[in-house]
Amino acid sequence: MDALQLRRQLIEYTAELFSEGFLDEQFTQLQQLQDENNPDFVVEVVSLFFQDSERLLNELAKSLSQQEIDFKKMDAHVHQLKGSSSSVGAHRVQRSCISFRDFCNAKNVEGCLECLQKMKHEYSLVKDKLETFFDLEQQLSTTGGSPPPP
């Protein structure tokens, strides 16, 4: 594929991510922060996000499997995850964190378990999408095309 087509594909894909709610404005902000001093900013931040989220999701799973569930600790974890996801613009993940928090406050274990599954699902979805996105960007830059403006 030539640069122009790749570019077009990237633009369409990005648009899709936005319209389906996977990403929001905040992601655009991240893209705007990428400059000559910081050429890999977005990738770096998103990688951090992946690491952090996986850790937090594991912690949540562990907490929920305990005999005595520490709701406070879970609340702290999900608060962190909510903060991270909103910082990168992972909109759907953020929304699922809010639902989880509600269940947690109500001390509804069933609800929490269900919600956790949903969160994991959303996370893996957005992870896939972002990885594809970065892939496309990578391809575009190797073919020498200029990246589209955020």
Binding site: L4, R7, R8, I11, E12, A15, E16, F18, S19, E20, G21, E25, Q26, Q29, L30, Q31, Q32, L33, Q34, D35, E36, N37, N38, F41, E44, V45, L48, F49, D52, H79, Q80, G83, S84, S86, S87, V88, S146, P147, P148, P149, P150
Partner: protein, 647 residues
């Protein structure tokens, strides 16, 4: 002689004497008895007599006293009647002079005064001037300084004070030798100011200005001031004060009313002039409208017909140019007319229900031909929350979007145009940079957000303000293209404003890549955030703005690292926020001098007042609400550095 009468035992004269003796004894006995009885009775009678006499005396006294009291009551009643009448007279008028004159006359009559006068303080407040007098019609020229002992005495009490007839205020006419002047009484009359009448406040007792009322009894009459008369004077003085202030208020309000009337007249005139001007302009436009369009349409129609005929290639080219120019001219005329109607507010939106999605799709259809000619790719993106139908001005909305997208196509050489239509979220609305943009939302209203992103050459920052100004052309743009009457975006802006919306452009300047904005070169910032991801993002934001950023992830680290070098400390404040508040307190404690202490800013998602208040309380200099855009951070930092405070 013998007589059958019997021989009395006793002789006749003895019998007579005996009878007399018996009678006398009886009489004596009776007399004695009577005397005895009288004497006995006298013992009882005398105290009774005495008591009767005493009672008589007592009753007489009482009667005299009652008489006196009756006299007093009658006088008081009369006085009271006088006061009521006086008050009635005074209150029945709102004219200051009448009030005072009436007072003096009535007082003079009631109390049979020789002279009654009123001294008013002069504007300077240092002298009293004789303003009204009973006997003299137009008193002129008499003034006394206000700081005389006798005057101070009178002003110091609210009661009537007897003063010497020789004091300057009482000497109203030349003293002739043989007159013994009558007693003089003076009393203060408080002059209440408008400002004393505040709502829910009583007038202050310490009013600064008093007038002096002087009352003189007739000379050579030896009459004296009675207590009830002095009381009457005090009452009257108060009434006068109230009546005077009413009169003053009335004068004020009448003056204000006159002023208002003048202003109204002036405004009316201005309105009429403006209306005349507008009507003249509209007439002109209407005429021009018709006059200009007719030849225009003729040219266009005939050129079109000409194109249908047999033409040589050169002729065809010429006719095409004529068509193009005429069309441009027609558009320009329409635009000018539209704009002037927009500007004077006479243009009204045609509100109706329409299919939002189909409008957007139609715009795409219209623009695709032009785009594909330039090998540009146009993509339309409709978010899922966009409603199918909407109520608004369909035609003009399409005009606006078409115009903007058209500009995108016109000024892009290669690449693609992306149009995203969505429903604007609350955070977005709050964040828009324009101070004139107030969002007004009803329950059923929504803000349609249309983003048109192109990959054109960009617009330099100095040209941006001119974009939406009519007739202002950008030098660089005119070189490139043939389009652009210079009005299109101006009209778009007007239409958008009419719809209570906002339109703006964000351009990266001459290159497509993001530039580092060196807004705050070398500004040392300490960032405190325990969330690694959000910390990285904020750090990136600050680096992009040219700051030198140090990051820490905990309270301890922060306090360990913070120093005078750091100009700003930005800390993430979450719901509990206990740690962050404590950091602020600690920093205040450590850096007591204002210029040494770094500015402390909280970064939070919370928008509630409590968070803000807590931050203020612990001495933070500002609060930034997430999400933060580059522009927001830039604005915040520059405000902070300039004013040292954000609240």
């Amino acid at each position: 002689m013998e007589c059958k009468c019997f021989d009395p035992q006793w002789p006749a004269d003895e019998l007579l004497m005996k009878t007399v003796a018996i009678v006398m004894t009886t009489a004596k006995v009776f007399t004695a008895a009577v005397s005895c009885i009288t004497a006995l009775m006298l013992v009882h009678i005398i105290p009774d007599l005495l008591s009767v006499k005493t009672r008589e005396l007592f009753l007489k006294n009482k009667a005299a006293e009652l008489d006196r009291e009756m006299g007093l009551i009658r006088t008081q009643e009369e006085t009271g009647r006088h006061v009521r009448m006086l008050t009635h007279e005074i209150r029945s008028t709102l004219d200051r002079h009448t009030i005072l004159k009436t007072t003096l006359i009535e007082l003079g009559r009631t109390l049979t005064l020789e002279e009654c006068a009123l001294w008013m303080p002069r504007r300077t407040g240092l002298e009293l001037q004789l303003s009204y007098s009973l006997r003299q019609q137009n008193p002129v020229g008499y003034t006394v300084p206000i700081h005389l002992l006798v005057i101070n005495q009178v002003f110091g009490t609210s009661r009537a004070v007897k003063i010497s007839p020789n004091s300057p205020v009482a000497r109203l006419r030349p003293l002739a030798g043989k007159y013994i002047p009558g007693e003089v009484v003076a009393i203060r009359v408080p002059l209440l100011h408008l400002s004393n009448f505040r709502i829910n406040d009583w007038p202050e007792l310490s009013t600064k200005r008093y007038a002096l009322m002087v009352l003189m009894l007739p000379s050579d009459s030896a009459s004296q001031w009675h207590v009830h008369e002095l009381e009457l004077i005090a009452v009257v003085a108060n009434q006068v004060a109230v009546a005077l202030s009413h009169a003053a208020i009335l004068e004020e309000s009448m003056r204000a009313r006159d002023l208002l009337m003048e202003q109204n007249v002036a405004l009316d005139l201005a309105t009429r002039e403006a209306e005349t001007a507008i009507r003249a302009r509209n007439d002109f436009l209407a005429v021009m409208n018709h006059e200009m369009r007719t030849p225009m349409h003729a040219t266009i129609a005939l050129s079109a017909l000409l194109q249908e005929t047999e033409l040589t290639p050169e002729q065809r080219l010429m006719v095409e140019t004529i068509m193009k120019s005429s069309n441009l001219l027609a558009t320009l005329i329409n635009d000018v007319l539209d704009l002037s109607r927009l500007e004077d507010g006479s243009l009204q939106l045609d509100i109706g229900s329409f299919n939002l999605r189909s409008v957007l799709n139609e715009v795409m259809c219209l623009i695709k031909p032009a785009a594909s000619v330039k090998k540009l790719h146009v993509v339309l993106n409709l978010t899922e929350d966009l409603p199918e139908h909407a109520v608004g001005d369909e035609k003009r909305l399409m005009q606006i979007i078409l115009n903007v997208v058209g500009n995108g196509v016109k000024f892009s050489m290669e690449g693609s145009i992306l149009v995203i239509a969505s429903v604007a979220k609350a955070e977005f609305l709050r964040d828009t940079r324009s101070p004139e943009f107030f969002t007004v939302r009803g329950d059923n209203d929504f803000y349609l957000r249309v983003q048109v992103k192109d990959s054109g050459s960009g617009i330099s920052p100095q040209d941006i303000p001119k974009l939406f100004t009519k007739f202002a052309q950008n030098q660089s743009l005119t070189l490139k293209s043939t389009g652009g009457s210079g009005l299109g975006l101006a009209i778009c802006k007007r239409f958008v404003n009419l719809m209570d919306g906002h339109i703006w452009i964000e351009s990266e300047g001459q290159s497509a890549a993001n530039r580092v904005q060196n807004s705050f070169p070398g500004l040392k910032v300490l960032l405190v955030d325990d969330n690694s991801v959000s910390r990285a993002v904020t750090r990136g934001l600050l680096l992009h703005l040219g700051c030198e950023v140090t990051t820490v992830s905990s309270r301890e680290e922060c306090l360990h690292v913070v120093s005078q070098d750091h100009r700003v400390v930005i800390m993430e404040v979450c719901v509990s926020g206990v740690d962050s508040y404590d950091i602020a307190v600690q920093i205040h404690g450590r850096f007591t001098k204002l210029h040494e202490r770094p500015l402390i800013v909280a970064l939070t998602r919370n928008t509630d007042k409590l968070t803000k208040e807590n931050c203020m309380r612990v001495g933070m200099d500002g609060v930034i609400v997430k999400p933060v855009s580059i522009d927001k951070m830039r604005t915040v930092l520059s405000d902070l550095l300039e004013h040292r405070v954000l609240f």
